[in-house]
Amino acid sequence: MIKNYTFAIYSNDQAGILNRITAVFSRVDLNIDALSVCESEQTGIFRHSVQVCCDHQTAYRLSKQLERQIEVIKAEFQPEDDMIQQEVALYKIASKSMLEQTLTEQIMHRHHARVLSMNSEYTVIEKTGNRAESQALLEELSTIGVLEFARSGPVSISKPMTIESIQADMSIFKQHATCEPDEGLAVEYTF
């Protein structure tokens, strides 16, 4: 069954590793819907969150091919429903219309958005939430006039308590391989 999967790929800090990771997906003609990279809870180890739409078997195969990359420490994947996700959206509107229209404040209040930055020329509004929420705000603000809009990809964290903090020697992740790509094996390794 095709659904959205979020990969959490941990890697060493080496130039070019992002290309190696994205190439694993592009090779099988999968489009990456969202991507974000940050340093993980462990200094020097980076977490690449990649969201793609595929079936479980493909996701399983890709996770193994990702782990085959020397600088990748582990690659896990979870269906979107098993992740807690959040996006950040920023909206730039003219301060003039902000002041002229009390409507703006009402909209912001209704959407739990806040002013991130304001000066005489423009105001930047920030909204944290899921895709639908930030989209709804965009549509409402459009009536006032949005000068610029940017939205991050989803930042995800897994729901179950299966992923322990990354140990210094993470090679143990690669030592266990399951041999059955059954549904529900999304988290491959338990300790």
Binding site: G16, A168, M170, A177, C179
Partner: protein, 595 residues
């Protein structure tokens, strides 16, 4: 600084591995010293602007590190592959930036698909020129990324020893593969304090997964219970240097043994349990009976599509055990019942402890019956044709009879499949062929590399008239080094395998497959290489005898039947059990065009 004095410094060369010998050298010298510390004695390469400092340093170490100047960088990488596969060591090649580096790519890709350990060193423009479209600047890291096990760009001289140590470790450990190290010119020129530490582990890399005892016991119980087990083995047995362990397991298990193309020579061809080669042009019995066995035991092979054909009809009745070192191969193409991860050199002896000694005589007889059919319909006709034209199979058979222990190196195409079908092997690492990538032009340079690696063994390259012309310039290396490589050109004046497919699957429309060939004898003469041409059967034995007994290099051109086909064949899209024994392919289906 000048390094001549260092050539006689044993601390640097051999004992530096674990001793902290700090010595200020240039980056280029550290490249050479690192190679020496890894035990490298021969490298293949081609100089150019961005790698000149390294070549300059190489000159001072000529007595310890032999550089073989090829005639094209593709020749360097294929020669390094041939060297690696004949010797089991890491092959090393060196090229300059830009075109030198891009010319390596085909061979690197070939090595990636065939798991050949290589370290490829390329020069790069000065670090401050990166990204400016400088002369001969190309981003070889990005280009080589999908075909390397690992790659890295060195921009500081101080990085060189540690990065090369890591490169060699990654190339040779676990499932071997090619590694590319791109070194900017400033890194080659600048000084560093040289201290070489051999790399033995990396935190993010587990080359040899520990065998899971539970999986081993599950595998053993399936093997002990099986009535019709079939063992299919690949190059993993050779790469793991597990030939003895494999033989011990196979003989205890008593099952029939079938090889992939790259597994050939891991087991002596005359072993009583050996039932032949798998795959599109493999043998009739092992292919057909893959769909009759009750247990398929795959050892160090990766279920390539040329082996499995249509996966929907591949061994569906059988349980499958897969022994492999690479976790990403498990369940990639064929879903398995038990996966035993690890180096077969370790897993097979563990497995043997749990295996009952067994024999499967009646099951083996089924293979013999099908082999008899193949012999009657194909082999006898191939080896004793009624026409005047010489068959490729006759040439291989003639070589078997006169010299049954050569390293045979092939190119890609009909002659390759015929060689794989008919060549007989006594010891491991006796067949070097381009399997996964199917690279025409592979034979000649790979044969050169193999001969440099194993001067004690006869090396015979078997190549088509198409493939020889792709890398024919490497005859120059044979000439320069007086290298006694024997080359047999099986000349059918066609790109034979493509022509065969055109005949069988493209309505006999022979698009661009007929070739006007040069006089190969004259070409060999140009390089000062002894040669002969044979066009009748009665000359063949004597010609091969002359070639094999000639002290130096030799090119033997055999004019073979122009429009012969390699049979049997599994048509694209068909099942392994639907092997065609003769050219009756009316049941070929449209859908197979998608293959």
């Amino acid at each position: 600084m000048k390094s001549t004095s260092m050539t006689s410094d044993p601390n640097i060369v051999n004992d530096s591995i674990n001793e902290k010998v700090l010595k200020t050298v240039t980056g280029s010298e550290s490249v050479i010293l690192s190679l020496l510390a890894e035990g490298v004695t021969q490298v293949f390469g081609y100089p150019g602007g961005a790698i000149m400092p390294t070549y300059d340093a190489l000159m001072d170490f000529e007595d310890q590190l032999k550089h073989i100047l090829v005639r094209h960088e593709q020749g360097a990488v294929h020669a390094a592959q041939g060297y690696a596969r004949a010797s089991g060591k890491v092959g090393v090649c060196i090229a300059t930036s830009g075109p030198g580096a891009t010319n390596l790519i085909t061979g690197i890709a070939d090595a990636y698909l065939d798991s050949t350990p290589l370290v490829c060193i390329t020069g790069q423009v000065f670090a401050h020129l990166l990204g400016t479209d400088a002369f001969q600047e190309i981003d070889i890291l990005d280009i080589s990324m999908p075909v390397t096990k690992w790659n890295y760009k060195v921009t500081k001289a101080s990085e060189i020893p540690a990065i090369l140590a890591k490169a060699f470790y990654i190339a040779r450990s676990g499932r071997p593969g090619p590694v590319l190290i791109d070194i900017t010119k400033n890194a080659q020129i600048d000084n560093l304090d040289f201290n070489y530490q051999v790399c033995r582990q990396l935190s993010s890399y587990e080359p040899n997964p520990r065998p899971n005892q539970l999986a081993l016991i599950q595998a053993a119980s399936l093997i002990n219970a099986a009535q019709k087990p079939l063992i299919i083995f690949g190059q993993g047995v050779i790469l793991g240097e597990a030939e003895q362990e494999f033989l011990a397991f196979a003989e205890r298990c008593g099952a029939p043994l079938a090889s992939t193309v790259l597994g050939l020579s891991a087991l002596p061809t005359d072993h009583p349990q050996y039932v032949g080669m798998l795959g599109m042009h493999g043998n009739y019995a092992p292919n057909t009976l893959t769909n009759e066995c009750d247990l398929l035991i795959a050892i160090g092979m990766r279920f390539d599509d040329r082996v499995t054909s249509n996966l929907a009809h591949y061994a569906k009745q059988a349980q499958v055990i897969h022994f492999d070192i690479d976790p990403s191969e498990i369940n990639k193409n064929v879903t398995v019942d038990v996966a035993v991860l690890g180096d077969v050199k370790q897993t097979l002896p563990e497995l043997i402890k749990h295996i009952k000694c067994n024999q499967h005589q009646s099951w083996l007889q089924q293979f013999q019956q099908l082999s008899a059919i193949e012999k009657n319909k194909i082999t006898d006709k191939d080896l004793h044709p009624k026409t005047d034209d010489i068959n490729m199979a006759e040439v291989v058979e003639c070589l078997n009879q006169q010299h049954d222990d050569a390293i045979i190196v092939t190119d890609v195409g009909q002659h390759q499949m015929v060689t794989c079908r008919y060549a007989k092997f006594k010891q491991s690492r006796s067949l070097i062929t381009s399997g996964g990538l199917g690279t025409m032009g592979f034979c000649l340079p790979a044969a050169i590399g193999a001969k440099f690696a194993r001067p004690d063994r006869a090396v015979v390259g078997i190549v088509g008239d198409g493939g020889i012309q792709m890398t024919v310039q490497e005859l120059g290396v044979i000439m320069q080094h007086q290298l006694p490589v024997k080359i047999i050109i099986l000349n059918n004046q066609y790109l034979g395998m493509v022509r065969q497919w055109q005949e069988l699957y493209f309505n006999k429309r022979y698009a661009s497959t007929e070739m006007s060939n040069p006089d190969f004898g004259l070409i060999a003469d140009g390089y000062g290489i002894s040669n002969a041409q044979v066009n009748t059967r009665d000359q063949l034995t004597q010609a091969i005898h002359t070639m094999m007994n000639h002290p130096g290099a030799y090119v033997l051109e055999v004019l073979v039947a122009q429009q012969d086909n390699v049979f049997p064949i599994i048509s694209p899209g068909a099942s392994v059990s639907d092997m065609c024994l003769e050219s009756n392919l009316t049941d070929y289906k449209e859908e197979s065009q998608n293959d």
